[in-house]
Every structure is written in structure tokens, then in C-alpha cells.
Symmetry: D2
Subunit: 286 residues, 4 copies
């Protein structure tokens, strides 16, 4: 069966995955949601035709968006995840016994329902008793919170459509306010390679730099995202992502990971020169 899902990484670059079956297709209030099964990547989720995650490589994204901040913050107890209705970030968070409460704010209930049914690999820990799911706009949710969270994870879609508000200056300012005095925020921050993505990445970085005293960017190899070179933002009120990172403390937790490890933690912040240049272009005063 020659059935192929194609994502245009740019107008001139296509990435195509052979599909065995389409397991689900629905239109929610916010977006089109599809689940496919594929011989190479297992099941995968798309929103409005954009790849969100595959069973084969989601571990990279979710480990890197969770363990990097958790290995820096020694005592994170209360965590907010915005977006991330697939449950992958929550799954990694629930492995930390020290976390007391996880608020998951996902605007689209249908995403959660679909992932519970078709992607237990990511959604399987959404029933952990520490997790509260809020079907709300993340932008509004965070506006109402102050000095509450140790860690905010912005696990958004791309900066257009439903995810657009999660890339605004107002949003980052509200996240700052919602964090405790030693709180951290991490966010998925697009790719540096293709120009359209790089511009979105720069814009997000500029806004975060303007909002937080500490702001760094780190990277991972995620084969199913455009260019395979994906960035995350690390913003902090107090802790430095590598200087305040206690590798041995994290190792003592005994968490088994498939991508993340303490050396990767340091290496992820070692950016190529061309990426550093892109970041510096929007860092006034540095």
C-alpha cells in the first residue's frame, strides 16, 4: 500500500513517511487531529497535518524537555505543563518522586482523549494522582497564577494556529510571574536550520531574554522534526542550566533514560557557531 504522509519542512523540502493505516481522524474545536500507524515510526500523531510525535523518537523530545530542567532544580515540587496533551512530558515528570503536583493545561480535550486511546506509550501516566488536567487556554491559565510553580514546561505546537499565544511576550511575562523565586521555564523552540523556523526561534528567544534574567538554548537530535536539529529554551530566575546542574544528584535518582544523561546535559548547551550567531542577533546588550 503506497500511502504516504508528507510534511513540507519548507516549500522546497518534503519529509514523507509511509503509512500503514490511519487509526483516527477527527476535527476538534481547535484543530484536525490524526493518528497514523507506520512501519518505520510506529504510531504517530499529527495536528493540522503537522507531525507532533512518533512512538519511535518521542522519547528524545520528552526526555530533553523534562530531565534537563529537573536535573537543575534541586527541589521542584510543583510543575505546570502547558500544551503537551499527549502526556509525554507528564510521563517523564511522574518518575520524580519529589514532585507533588503536576498541572497539565491543554486547550483541546480531544487531543488528550485521542492520545489516551491510541498512544498509551505517552498518555499512560495521565492518571497519576498528582496530575490535574485543565482544559483551558494556557495563556489565560497562567495569567491567574503567581509565585506557584517551581517549573513550567511549555510543550506547545508551532507558533501559529492554537499554539500561537504561547510564543508571545505577554505569555512569557506571565510565566515569570507564575514561577517561584527560583523557578524555571523550558519551552520547545523550533529549529535553527531552515530560515522560516530560525526566525520563529529568534523571535521566541528575544521575548524570553527580555523576560528572564537567565536564558539559554539547548538542542537535541529529533529525526522527525524539520532538519532533525531541534532547540529548547531554558529560562530561569536564579539557576544556571549547567553551573547549577548537579550530575551526581541526578544520577542518584536512578532514572533509566534512553537519550538524556549528564554528559548530554552539558553537551546540549554547546551550540554550533551559526546557532549562537542567530541567538546573539536578538540579544541586545550581550
Amino acid at each position: 500500500m503506497e500511502l504516504w504522509f508528507t510534511e513540507k519542512h519548507t516549500e522546497h523540502v518534503k519529509f514523507s513517511i509511509q503509512v500503514d493505516k490511519q487509526l483516527y481522524s477527527g476535527q476538534s474545536e481547535f484543530q484536525r487531529i490524526d493518528i497514523f500507524d507506520s512501519p518505520e515510526f510506529g504510531k504517530f500523531l499529527t495536528l493540522d497535518g503537522y507531525m507532533m510525535l512518533t512512538e519511535k523518537d518521542e522519547f528524545i523530545y520528552h526526555e530533553m524537555i523534562v530531565h534537563v530542567p529537573m536535573a537543575v532544580h534541586p527541589l521542584a515540587k510543583r510543575v505546570l505543563v502547558i500544551g503537551g496533551g499527549d502526556g509525554g512530558a507528564v510521563r517523564e515528570l511522574t518518575r520524580y518522586l519529589g514532585i507533588e503536583r503536576i498541572d497539565l493545561v491543554e486547550i483541546d480535550r480531544q487531543v488528550v482523549d485521542v492520545c489516551r486511546k491510541y498512544l498509551p506509550q505517552t498518555a499512560g501516566r495521565l492518571d497519576d494522582p498528582r496530575v490535574s488536567i485543565h482544559y483551558e487556554d494556557g495563556l489565560k491559565f497562567v495569567r491567574a497564577e503567581e509565585n506557584v510553580y517551581d517549573l513550567i514546561i511549555v510543550d506547545s505546537t508551532d507558533p501559529f494556529g492554537p499554539g500561537e499565544g504561547l510564543f508571545t511576550k505577554e505569555f512569557y511575562g506571565n510565566c515569570f510571574k507564575a514561577l517561584k523565586e527560583d523557578g524555571l521555564m523550558v519551552n520547545q523552540q523550533e529549529s535553527p536550520f531552515y530560515p522560516v523556523d530560525a526566525i520563529a526561534m529568534q523571535r521566541a528567544h528575544k521575548r524570553i531574554v527580555d523576560s528572564f534574567p537567565v536564558s539559554r538554548v539547548y538542542q537535541a537530535h529529533i529525526p522527525t522534526y524539520p532538519s532533525g536539529h531541534w532547540l529548547f529554551g531554558f529560562a530561569s530566575k536564579k539557576y544556571h542550566p549547567t553551573e547549577d546542574f548537579d550530575a551526581s544528584a541526578w544520577m542518584k535518582l536512578g532514572l533509566k533514560t534512553r537519550y538524556y544523561n549528564p554528559k548530554i546535559h552539558i553537551g546540549a548547551f554547546a551550540l554550533p557557531n551559526y546557532v549562537k550567531t542567530l541567538l546573539e542577533e536578538v540579544e541586545p546588550g550581550r
Copy 2:
């Protein structure tokens, strides 16, 4: 014009680049050689339909295959490049004034001729007076050399077709013999992500581990190679890739790079757990 070059990264994954024009197509004694022009990646070279390099991202590959070993070996004077008829590795090497002689061994003269004509960006330094080009089989060339080189760069194609011999145990053993007592060898070593590539990577690693006392693997983000997560082997008689790396000495050289920098050097050797596991599977005794 909807004209697309497609590379199957696996049987079930296609990466497609829109082509504006095919600038050259020829059949040499060894392989089919094509040069295309594309809106996203500029000109690119394929051999037997496999992507070799694009103008847009070749800097990543060539910087990483050259500057990593050159920043470890303090006094490399004589360098052998096997494969690499595009001239990109030679270009980076010629920037080191301490290098006295570069032997480039490329089996296919037509590759060099075509790259000189269509890809001056990579081939432009092949006329440096320190460079000698040998149109020979690299496997045979290196068999005849002993205790000659400070550095051997194995800039091969994939481990089938003309490049196959450059992945054999005999070849690595001859490289060992051709190196001086503190010599280094680096090689392109495929990707860890897709199973077929990972198996080739493991096989190469096993053979290098058997041949050299020091053998490590490092990585880079190369968007146009399968999965975007590409590996290099670092094999050495004496020097350790990170412990014997003198960052400040390299910085004093004042070389301007777009990907490589001393932090990337360290970070490139920080491998994800799943890659470490693949490597350890073929490292008996470790």
C-alpha cells in the same frame, strides 16, 4: 517546475528536495555522478543517487571531520584524506599553516573534475601547493604506507558500492600501520537512528575498536543526511579526543568556523544513551 530529488532514508521514509536544474549527470568508471541546483540547499552532489553534500550544510560535515582531530593533535604535519574528492575536507585542512602535506586519495577522477567545475565552494582549495591528489583505490594506497601520517581522514561514501572497502578490518589495520606513533584516524560512520544505518555503524565501530587502542564516536547535526544525526569515528594510537584536546591552543589559531567550536568539540562526544548502548554492544571487554 515540480522536479524533486528523493532519497529513501529507509524503505518507508523519503526525503525530497525540490530541484531547479540538473547541472551535470555523468557515469564514471565507478558510479553515476550528478550535480543539481536547488532553491533550498543550493547546489548538491549525489553519487549513485545518494546525497553526498549540499552547499548549504556541507560546512557542518567538513568542519566536524577536520577540526575535531586537528584540535587534538598538536603538531599534525602530514595528513591523508581518503575519499573526499569534493575537496571539502581538504579545504578545511589547508587553513592549518602547520600542515605540510595533504595526500588526497580519490578513486574517481571524474568526481574531482566535476566538483572543481560545479562546486568551487568545496573544491576551491584543491590547488593548494601542499595537496597531492592520487586517483587510486584508498584501500591499496594505504596498504603501501607505514609510519607516515599524523592524521588520516576517511571521508568515504556509504559502506556499499565503491566505498565498501573503506569499512573493512583490513583497511583500518592498514590505516593504523600508516599512521605515526601518535597518529589519529577519523571516519564518517553513518547514523545511529535507522536500523540499517545503525548496523553499518556498529560494524565499523567494532572493526575500529579491534584495530586502535583509543576509539570513540562523536556526532553532529547534518540535516541532509538520514535522520540528521550523523556520527564520526575517532581512533587514535595515543591521544584522547577530549582529555588531550587543548581548546585554548585551537582558539589561538584564529580560525573562523560556522559549526565547530571548543564546546561543540566536547559536546559532540556526549552521546545519547541509546547510541552508547549500540556502541557497547560491539565493544567486547568494555
Copy 3:
């Protein structure tokens, strides 16, 4: 959503249809069955990844496989349809009030069930009281019949897989035997354009010529089949397809059609020279 169904018309030619949703996918005892919905062609059915019919152009195939023989045979009362589990040929047949009984022999019950559910446009007349469905191998079914049918319609898949037996000499011989003394057989007979299809078409023609005194080929424009130029075989014990065709009798029936009409009937038997040559190559003695 960039989701495309592709059929390779040859190794070097692809025909791709954008899919909105996959409505059904199942594996029967005989083959994989899929139903897709598409913006251009509406719903379409594939078996083992090969296009069978689309809502948009199935009328051409089904009108041409039914009305051509029905307009030649003045008093057809008993009709056998072999294959055709989608019900499209039956639908056209049921419009003739003179037909008393239609036997539909479809090897794969699941095809019928799926078409009833998803393709009422073709399957909607399968419940006509004159229709009897037999879930059997057409080859075996016809072996047991003698001097029974006025018309046999061989509405098979391609000559490999489950449909293979319906292209054998034995099968055509049994059809001859199962027909009354003035009976007709029509069959779908592939395309003359691409070499692989043309060879299959010639092979079928040769076998039919060997089995029936009258054997002609006619054509239609079916855009979703390879090359768009599709052939049907017309085999007969007595009637000639154009000389015994009574246009005014057919017009009096008052059937409304979208493709077929009496001029098309004649025109369909006017074959291009290159097709005539292909046919004559396998017509010994002519």
C-alpha cells in the same frame, strides 16, 4: 493534510491522489481492502493497494461493461457477474426490467460487506430480489454450469493475486460452456499502453479468441486506471458487437446514462492502429 495514495502505473510512473481520510482498512482472507475519501474523486476502493473504483469515474467502467453487451443481446434474461463485489455492474444490470436473475459470484465476502457500508453508490442495488450473491471462487462456480446464462460479465481484478484464475484458458472455456447458444461474455481486459499491461491484455485476448467464435475488444476513457485508456473484451457465440447492435431498441428502453450511448457503442470498437496491431499479433489465422 498531505496524505497521498500512490499507485505505480509502471516502475517509472506514479499516479497520486490526495486523501482526506482512510475510512476503512481490513485484511480479508484474500486481500487487503481499503476505502479512502478524497477531495477529487470522492470515496475510492483499493484492493491490495490497487485502485478498483472511485465514486467520480466508476460510472464509465460500469456503464461500459454492462450496456455494451446488453444493447447487443436482445433478450438477456439470466446474467452472471464474476468478481464485481462492489455491486457497480449489478446496479447497471438491475435497470433492465427484462433481466430475471443475476448471479453475483464474489470470492471475498468482506469486499461486499465493506462496499455495502461505504459505497452505497455502487452497492445500493445488491438487494434487488433478482440478485443472488455467491461467495465462491468464480473459476469453480462457472465450472459447474452449462447452457445457463445469456450474459457473463467478468468484472475481475488484475491478472495476479485473487483474480488470476479469471484470466486462464480453462476459465474462458468454462464460460463458453455455461453460456446459452446465443450467449455473450464481456471482461475487463487491462490497458494497451504500458508494456506490462499490454502483455496481460494480449494474453487474455489470445485465450478468448481461442475459446469463442466472435471476439472483439472495445475501449473507454477511465481516468483513474493506468494510462486512462482501458479495454474490455467482447466474446460471443453468435451476435456481433456492432452488426447485431440495435441502437433504436436500446434507446426505447429510456435508460439514462452518463457515458454510454449508441454512438459511443460503435466508437468504442474503433481501436487505434497500435492497439489493433497488438491484438492481431495474438490472433493466429486472421
Copy 4:
């Protein structure tokens, strides 16, 4: 080498041909011109990325656009071909010894030059002494002529870009004027199947009906054109396309053809009902 030329037949349908090599690519004053070599269709010509002809199936188009009118007009001596810089229509015309002069009006000299070099199969008879090539706008050329031609063949590209003027009412009116009192005009008239093409086809038909007393449409199976079902317009001052067709006279000429023959001539005017309906929609008064 996975290199594919794709033509979008509609927004939702793609037809893709594997390319071995791009033999030529150039930008003329009017359009982009490309010649490709392909394993399935041999060499093919595209203008602005649209398929014009392939070596494998151009015979169908060129035979049908030439022999149909030539078999109707008993004594055509002077012929005008507008467009058709590939030379295929001229090639067929030169086979008629009764033709005394052929004016080929092609706006783009570069098309002729490229076809002479790369497509001798079609362009090989452009040097016939009866042929005069005029590198002019066909719309302007025909404006200046009156009562000159026995036959005008409008071998245009699609009704947008350089070919747009050849689908206007003014143009058809001028063709009428340029024809002798028993003159004929044939034109390529798009496809009836896909809605966008069908609308262009209807518009052209309406304008021709308004300009000529006799106006009919005929069809051919051309696999590399959208849907494979292609139409031609037959417009005439006096002769009827089938009633004034003298099959035996044409047969006596002894021309060897691969698609056209007298039965095809009649059959080509037998249109499917849905096509007749499309035509009648724009034929006021009928």
C-alpha cells in the same frame, strides 16, 4: 536515481514521471523550457513545468490533430499551424503531397531551436521546403490574413501564459477570416474530466461555436495529458467532420499511422454523454 517530474493535474491529483536526466533547461523570453529523458516515455518537453509532449505518446496527439481535418478537406493546399514549435503537427502535414505551403507561427524561437536539437522525432521535418517558420504572436499573425488558408491548426499550450491569446473570441474570429470559404480550423481543447480543464474547454467551445457555422469536438486517448481523455475542436465553414469525410480517399493516400484510422475518425466524434452535456451547456440555441 529517484528524480521525478510531477505535474499536478489538479490540486489533489499528481502524475509523476521518473526522470533519468534533464537534457536541457532554459528560460526564453516567454517561458521556461525543459527537456528530460525518462525510462518510460523517452524524451519529453515541458513549458513552464507543464507537459507538452513525450516521445512515446506524441504520435497520438499529432496524428489526431492533423489527419482528422486532412481526411475531411479534399484539397487542402495551404495550411497554417499556430503554436506547435515542436514540429510534430508539421511532420504529419508534410506527408501529404498535396499540401503546397505550411506556415508555422511559433512565438518562441527557442522552443523550435531546442526541439530541433533534442527532439528530432517531432522537429525532423521542419526543414521541408514547403515550411515557412514565423517567429511571431499567432494572434497578430492571423489578424493580417484573409481568405488564405484551407486549414488552420491551433496547436497551442494551455489557456494561460503565452497561449492565452489563442483561446480568445477575437482569435477565433480572425481564424475564420483567414480561412478560405471551405476552410477548416482544428484546435487542442483541453480535457472534459477535471473541473478546471472542463471549464476552459467549455469556454473555448462557446467562442468557436459563436464564430463558425460548423463546430464539433472530438477526442483521443493521450496518456500523459490530464485524465488521459483529451479533446480537439473541429470548426468549419462548410465541411462536416464525418458526413464529408471520405474514408476511401484517405486510405488511397497510403499513409501509415499508429493511432488514426477511418474508424477512429468516426469514433472520435462519438462523445460520452457527460461530455455532450458540458458542450450543450454552452451551445445556445441548440
